[in-house]
Symmetry: C2
Subunit: 247 residues, 2 copies
């Protein structure tokens, strides 16, 4: 048996999310079905993170175990051939030790949230960014974001369905930058609560619109109360960018 | 009567091209139909350039004349509302003098051609870039591109359907840059022949693959013979980026 680590790009639009669901297509199922078509083995694919319906992956990391002798290159090529026409691509594939785990070995996760700040509707980016028609003050958003850095109880920014044992998380990076009409929010942490990035971005947008002061963001965090959430940003603009592992 | 200049973004995937066609949807028709819905007037929309089926516009410039009194802001908002669900967006709209012409006043056009150089298929960029699986040498492509700069007979890089009076064109910029798996080819000129950018990019790709030497590119240009064209790149990766006007 060989364990393979995968780097996966996927367009989240047609999927119910990463995780296998009874009621619709998932990225996990697409890869597991492709692996079955290639090897005849029913194998589970484990990812660094679960993503919601409509959220995208630029370089999700995952692993699976295969009994059949096959090289990483052949497996990667065969998976990509069998994944068609799903918008899921294996960007990289490598053999890893049997105790390497895409989720449990992961020591850092990075997301990017993409906002297009203009009145005109989206064309080719529809479903790939959040269009906000009113002007956003990205500098104020960045200032408010810095209040969230560090170890906090993120209950305000946590979905009611979150399965994490604790609402305490350490947020390492939350940077807001503007380039023309585009605003990018980059978030990095060891791990995130369910909906945490979208909830933080939603509240940052309220600051950017001038509806929340920077102090309101600090108050919302301190309240540790989901009822204080201002806005949950739509999944469209969210991309899982990177997973970090020891060495 | 007021003349309005438009800046238009469009996803070329569902269209037969910019220009109105009998046999399928066009960007021009989508905007003309939206203008009719807004004003009750049948007006022609003129663009800085015509684009082929599947080619995209990041900031195409166009103009139209409207009899009905309406502000540029209201026209822009109303066109965007009526353009749905077409992937066409009016990014900017302004009143211009009656002798301003999107095509005939234009003194510079810029295109960008996007290549994703990797084995894995495209996901959310499908139809928005050209995937080339074999490694491309972008530095060699850039070097070969410089042979095309200046005033030349571009017959080799010209479609058989080109309606231009002369195959002589002056190419100002043809830059090839790589960033990770992405290669961008930027082309700037006063005007281009039909298929010129795609034909130049196709031949540059042959150089990048090592199938053509840099000298082969010079020879193909000097031959001024369409039969010497190595490859016409697909429309997917081509974006009309910018049109320049006096002042």
């Amino acid at each position: 048996m060989t364990r393979f680590a995968l780097t996966v790009e996927f367009d989240g639009r047609p999927f119910m999310g990463w995780q296998r669901q009874d009621h619709g297509p998932s990225v996990q199922q697409a890869i597991e079905d492709a692996a079955f078509a290639v090897t005849g083995e029913r194998t589970a694919v484990h990812a660094a993170g679960r993503t919601d319906a409509g959220v995208h992956g630029a370089a999700m990391r995952a692993h699976l175990d295969i009994e059949k002798p096959i090289t990483a290159f052949r497996l990667s090529e065969a998976l990509n051939a069998r994944l068609r026409p799903n918008p899921v691509a294996i960007l990289a594939c490598e053999e890893v030790p049997g105790d390497w785990h895409a989720r449990f070995s992961c020591i850092g996760r990075a997301y990017e949230y993409r906002i297009v700040n203009r009145r005109a509707p989206l064309t080719w980016e529809k479903g790939l960014a959040w269009q906000v028609a009113q002007p956003l003050d990205a500098a104020a958003m960045h200032q408010a974001a810095q209040l969230l850095i560090g170890r906090h109880d993120f209950t305000t920014f946590r979905s009611a369905h979150c399965q994490s044992a604790s609402p305490l998380k350490s947020l390492d990076v939350l940077n807001v930058t503007r380039s023309g009409h585009r605003i990018a929010v980059v978030a990095e942490a060891r791990s995130f609560l369910h909906h945490q990035v979208r909830s933080m971005v939603g509240c940052l947008a309220l600051v950017g619109l001038g509806r929340w002061s920077i102090e309101d963001m600090g108050d919302a965090l301190a309240a540790a109360d989901r009822a204080r959430l201002g806005l949950n940003a739509p999944p469209d603009g969210l991309f899982f960018m990177h997973a970090r592992y020891p060495e």
